[in-house]
Every structure is written in C-alpha cells, then in structure tokens.
Symmetry: C2
C-alpha cells in the first residue's frame, strides 16, 4: 500500500551573496536544507534539522512552516548564520567562491527529536560524514537513506565516508565526485565500484546534461531540460535531491526501480523550476502542478512522436 | 513508399597519428569521409567524394568497396595524404592537436560524376563552406542535405557559411559551435536562431552527454551510452553523422520527425560502437545487428521499467 511518509532533511541553512549575470543579490537565503526542504514540501511533509544564527530571516522560517515544513529542528544559535558568496560566469556554468564563513555552522551538532528520529525517510545533506552517521545513529531505523557528499569530504574524510556508505541506500553526487570517490575515471565502472561499497542506487548529477541513475536494474538517463533562460543555478542540486526524495516519500511502500526512475524525473523537473529564479524564489512557491507540467515537458524530450 | 537511397558523402580522408592512453598508433586511417562512409554503409549504398595522396592505404579503399561504398569519387592526387596527429588526455575527453599537414587536401576540389550528382541524399563533411556550396551546385537537387562545420569556418568564413545555411536541411554541430555560430550562449535560443538562418533541423552533439535535436516538433534528447571502456574517441562525430544519414537514406520517402529522431538513436549507437576500437577498426566491420543491439541498450536508458 502506498502511503505518504514524512521526510527528515538535515543540512545547511545560509545567506548567499550571489553575483549573477543579471545582477548582484546580497543576503539571499540559501543552504542545502533550505532548498531541499522547499522542494520536498511540494510532495510531502518535511521535518528539517539545521542551525541558523540569530540573524536568520524569520520570513523564510514562516514560509517553510506555511508549506508544512516543521522547523522545530532548526536550532537558533548565538552568532551569525553560515554565509557563502559566489560569482557566476556569464554562461552560468562556471562559478567561483568569493567567500565562505561557516559561523554557527562550524559547530553544528544535529539534534533530533522524536518527530525527526522516527521519520522513515531521510535526506542527509552535504555535511561532515561523522555528523551524517550521528543522524542515522539517532534514528529508529529509517527505511530509505539518501545522502549527498562532496570532494571536500571525499578527500578529507575518506575513512569516515567509507564507514557511512554501507548505511546509505541512494547516494547523489556529481561526475567529478564519483570519479574522485571511486578512483575510476570511466563513469560506468566508477558507479559499479561505488555501489559495491554500499548504496544500492547511485545518482550522478551532470548539471545541464541531466542525471544518470545506476541500480541493479541497469542505467537510467534523464536529460537536462533545455530552458530558454536560466537565472540562477544556485540550489539546483539540492532542489533535485528534495524533489527526488519528496516524490519517493509520497510513494512509501512501493519504492522500486520504476518509482526511483520516476523520482529522477520529478527531481530534474524541480531543479529546472528552481533555476528559473534567484535563490529560493521559485522553489519556495512551487506547486505540484508546476512540477508535473515540467515532467511532461521532460518526457517529450525522449519520446518518439508517431 | 520507403525506398533505400544512395548517399553521397564528401569530406576528408586522412592518416592520423593517435596518442591514446592505451598506446600510440601511427598512420591510422582516418578522416571525416572515411568514418562517415564506413558508418553509413551499414545502412545503405554510399558514394564518397574525397582526395587522397599517392601514399594512401589500398586496403582501406578495398574495405570501403567491400561494404558497397563506391570509391570512384576518391581522387588520387600526387603528393601526401592529409595528416593529423593528436594526443588524448587520460580521460579521453580533452585532446590536443600535435600536428596538421593538409597536403593534397589543401587543394581539394570535389569532382562529382553522375553517380554523385544524382544522389538524393548528401552529407557535406566539415570542409570549406565554399566547397560545400560547390557540391550542392553540382547536384541535381538533393532531397536531403545534411552538413557539418566547425569553429574554424564559423569564425573564418561567416559570410560563406551564412550563404550555405539556407541550402542545408539538417546541420550537425557541437554545443560550442552552436554558441559561436549564433552568438547566443543559451543552447535553446541558439538553436532557434540557427534554425531561423536555414536548417529545419539542428543537431547538437555533446560528446559523452549524447545529442539534442531541435526541429519544428520540439526538442529530442538522446543520452550518450555509458560504455564500460572507451578506446578511441576519434571519428565519433563522423560516425554519428554517417549512421544518422545512413538510417535516413534507408527510409527515403518517409523522413519525418519520427524517423529523424530514430536516426539520432542509430547515429548515437553507431558512434558508441566506433569508439570501442582504435581508428576505423570497429566501424569498418560494423553490421546492422551490432547497431541495433546498441539501439536497444540506449533505449533502455530512458525507459521506465514496469
């Protein structure tokens, strides 16, 4: 029987200063947990665990609550919220980090209440693999663990990450991270090696080129949706993860290779909606109809007309 | 009614010196017309127009003839065959050109006999746009003109290329070339601009990420097939074009958006077979069953299992 499960999302909340070709946007609300929570809340109930400083934006917390996101797990610490500043190239593909201030995020210790520990489905955002493991330790056996990571942890904490992987069902990383994690350049053999280390499903994000899913059934490819205009790529990957896990949570009890592949379409659609606006502006007002319309558009990309 | 039409292919024939991660291969037979002719001959009769020097490999000409490729249009000029030398990165994505010697190709003047001028379908390989135009001038109204070009002509001969485009039905280029040709970074708007200048169909090759087709029906995306092992990417684009046009020629009389999209699958499959060996080794022994098996594998990449 299919039921709609709540999702636990653990990750960062931040202020971003964005230099985009269309202008400079200071103090934009960002962070992996923020994007993923807005995205997932299009599909299901979300409970978020994160830390913000005493300068964080109350309007964003209210916007999350309005979408059914429980914000009780967002710790308000004394000090400043995590800040990131970046400048995008004119083509919106390349970007440089201008500044990173961890602030209260430096001492982030995820604290789970019952509403969090009992979630059957969890998205472990890109945080220290030890913290990701602590979240799983505090949970009462989640049915589905989806995790993100990055080069910083792959090279800096290889043993901690290796210990985490057997506890992860779905790992979501990009091409470069897959190559670094596996030590194998060929993406197909890299995927096989990573799956051997734990996750039954590996998703490789390829930006504008879409995403690949590898599981025991084979390989599934979703093309990126060629938008007429991309405004801000920030949060695309987190919105993908949020849309992906949100769709899965809405299909609890029948998550199989078919549903996992369909969730890839929904994640891709969610990400493509996100990048149509600055920061979280699009993803925080997303409704299911918007995502479904984009899913239909994405499907036409690989349908043969008769 | 569907009939099988002969294809005219005009382009380069060459010797390549390849430095691959798996070894160095000197005097490998290459060239756009060579790869495309071997590829297209898997599907239909091919007639090639090119120039080689008196040092060219007789075995390759015999191999072409064996596959039903008419080589009477290959001029044997006094002097040396076009040579290219390149070194691939360990990842087989980046490559540097070490040497280019145009030799007899510098004075290439395509000479068409009746068997060439009456072909209903033509692939204009990547040569000077003036030569491409001369080929069309010499033909008795081909039904389908497919053309390739490159940055060298886009920047060096913009007017000649602009004059050619209204005579081209299907243009095949890569992302970077589409951006340079249109002056627009966004790939979707770039495609619309290029189609406005002539070709009803634009195909954008994206290497390992597959290819996109833009026509009046919309956009079609074919993912690259993730191979366990890529040996030599040389000639992948030309094999794509050859497989694509070969499939179309085998469906003369019913070339429509459906057939054009299916031809994309066959072109992608042909290219993915090509790169499994050094030089033309794989594409020159290709049989339809090999391509069809790969088409099935590519289709599973975007099929939702039930």
């Amino acid at each position: 029987m299919t039921t709609r499960a709540p999702v636990l999302i653990v990750g960062s909340m931040a202020f971003d200063d964005l230099e985009l070709p269309t202008g400079t946007f200071a103090n934009t609300v960002g962070g992996s947990a923020t994007y993923a929570s807005f995205a997932a809340s299009t599909f299901t109930e979300v409970r978020v665990v994160a830390v913000v400083g005493d300068d964080f934006d109350a309007g964003t917390l209210a916007a999350l609550e309005t979408r059914g996101v429980s914000t009780r797990g967002i710790e308000r610490a004394k000090g400043k919220t995590f800040r990131w500043a970046g400048r995008y190239d004119a083509d919106l593909v390349g970007r440089v980090t201008l500044d990173t201030q961890l602030n209260v995020f430096a001492d982030f210790q995820p604290k789970l209440g019952n509403e969090h520990s009992q979630c059957p489905i969890v998205l472990l955002g890109n945080i220290h693999p030890t913290l990701q493991a602590q979240v799983l330790d505090a949970m009462t056996g989640p049915e589905l663990v989806v995790a993100d990571t990055m080069n910083f942890w792959i090279t800096g904490e290889p043993e901690k990450l290796a210990a985490l992987l057997p506890r992860v069902h779905v790992l979501i990383i990009n091409d470069e991270e897959a190559r670094e994690l596996s030590g194998i350049h060929n993406i197909r053999r890299a995927a096989a090696e990573i799956r051997r280390r734990g996750p039954h499903t590996l998703i490789i994000k390829r930006g504008e080129h879409g995403a690949l899913l590898f599981d025991e059934t084979g390989i599934f490819a979703v093309p990126g949706y060629p938008l007429e205009e991309v405004i801000d790529p920030t949060g695309a990957g987190d919105s993908f993860a949020g849309g992906f896990i949100g769709y899965l949570a809405a299909h609890r009890g029948k998550i199989d290779p078919h549903v996992l592949r369909t969730a890839m379409l929904y994640g891709t659609a969610t990400a493509s909606r996100c990048v149509e606006g600055v920061g979280t502006s699009k993803v925080q007002t997303l409704v299911l109809g918007d995502v479904e319309a984009r899913v239909v558009q994405i499907r036409t990309l690989f349908e043969l007309p008769r």
